[in-house]
Symmetry: C2
Subunit: 241 residues, 2 copies
Amino acid sequence: MTYELYYWDGIPGRGEFVRLVLEEAAAPYREMGKGEAGTREIMSHLGDDAGPYAPFAPPFLKDGQVIISHVANILDYLGTRHGLAPAGEQDRLFARGLQLTLTDFVTEAHDTHHPLGIDDYYEDQKPEAKKRSKAFIEHRILKFLGYFERVIVGNPSRSGYLVGDGLTTVDLSLFHVVNGLRYAFPNATADFDDRYPKIMALRKKIGLRPNIAAYLASSRRLDFNEADVFRHYPELDQDPA
Amino acid sequence: MTYELYYWDGIPGRGEFVRLVLEEAAAPYREMGKGEAGTREIMSHLGDDAGPYAPFAPPFLKDGQVIISHVANILDYLGTRHGLAPAGEQDRLFARGLQLTLTDFVTEAHDTHHPLGIDDYYEDQKPEAKKRSKAFIEHRILKFLGYFERVIVGNPSRSGYLVGDGLTTVDLSLFHVVNGLRYAFPNATADFDDRYPKIMALRKKIGLRPNIAAYLASSRRLDFNEADVFRHYPELDQDPA
């Protein structure tokens, strides 16, 4: 069965968390959101006439007739099916909690450039975005990544992964979040190697996995850009906290 | 087995989503976060020395030795065990997606009074909070609640619930979100009965359920207040959109 991935064209966005899992798993999938036809296809699933089980927003995934929305929900579904979920109840519940912590972190990363809401342009909220970015860099990155660093250190299996003794979907998501932060805030993140050695070692290891490396080098991989969650606006960057 | 609920004292907060499920299910639970000793108890699970499976933040729940964090994760766990999760894979996946949409909605409701970040006081971001609240009222409430109204209307079982033919944890969470919005923005939400008749009928029905009604009348139920997610600052309210 070929999965159908519905996500806005032109940005990695939140769809990227799903792509990384599909690519690592070598699961066949089709991008449904490409071009204007793709946008119309997505919209047909969201509007008043979308029928039952309509998602609130992309990304969503179809597996045959089954439709699944929200990154954490999709990754839970895929992880279980493709050997990228931990074994054991406590590990599985913990991984789900970590994924939801990453969800919150991504929302906060997005809000650095849209603190007053997404219905106004960045250009109309630049002073506020600067304040929010400062707080994000000086407090929130430290809090979130400090936590994830401790989780790797404290993993009873000492595997270098977040949960259990092998790669899970949460590791892949953390990989993307760190890449996004490095793109958005190159100065503020310049000391990550020193500050978060376990996270950065995990990031390096994931980038070398054959399926991930092949994906990153392929045309399927979209570049970060300023229509995305992680945006590089030099005026929002600053020195490390 | 008595569940242990860890949440900050004095506010309904995100702990309330968990409490409503425990109360509806008549599941025995103990509040672990009461008083100064409770705060210390919570902190001991969060710090550098918390050991494996440490949550990022409250609420979290302990079921014997198992620890579960994040509202959506906890509700999934409890719903399955107490007859408050839908039957059938598509319904279950859809309910999980709805819960995560509510998670996002709650974050946005919180950000109306803290658009520049949670490390500064509301008093230091009042003009920005006014702008964010305006956008929230004029765009986001409509988008989220319009969606949930359509979900109830489009539920194939026509049960008046969000998913399937009976009450699930997502209904209880929507109940609390609507109550929170009514508390925070009494003017902006004054037309909810006309605008969202299905949601408001569901809210009324839930409030009449014996276990919920008994809980709401009990001393276990904490009042909304201005240290919480949903805060009533009259200056942030406005007429309906």
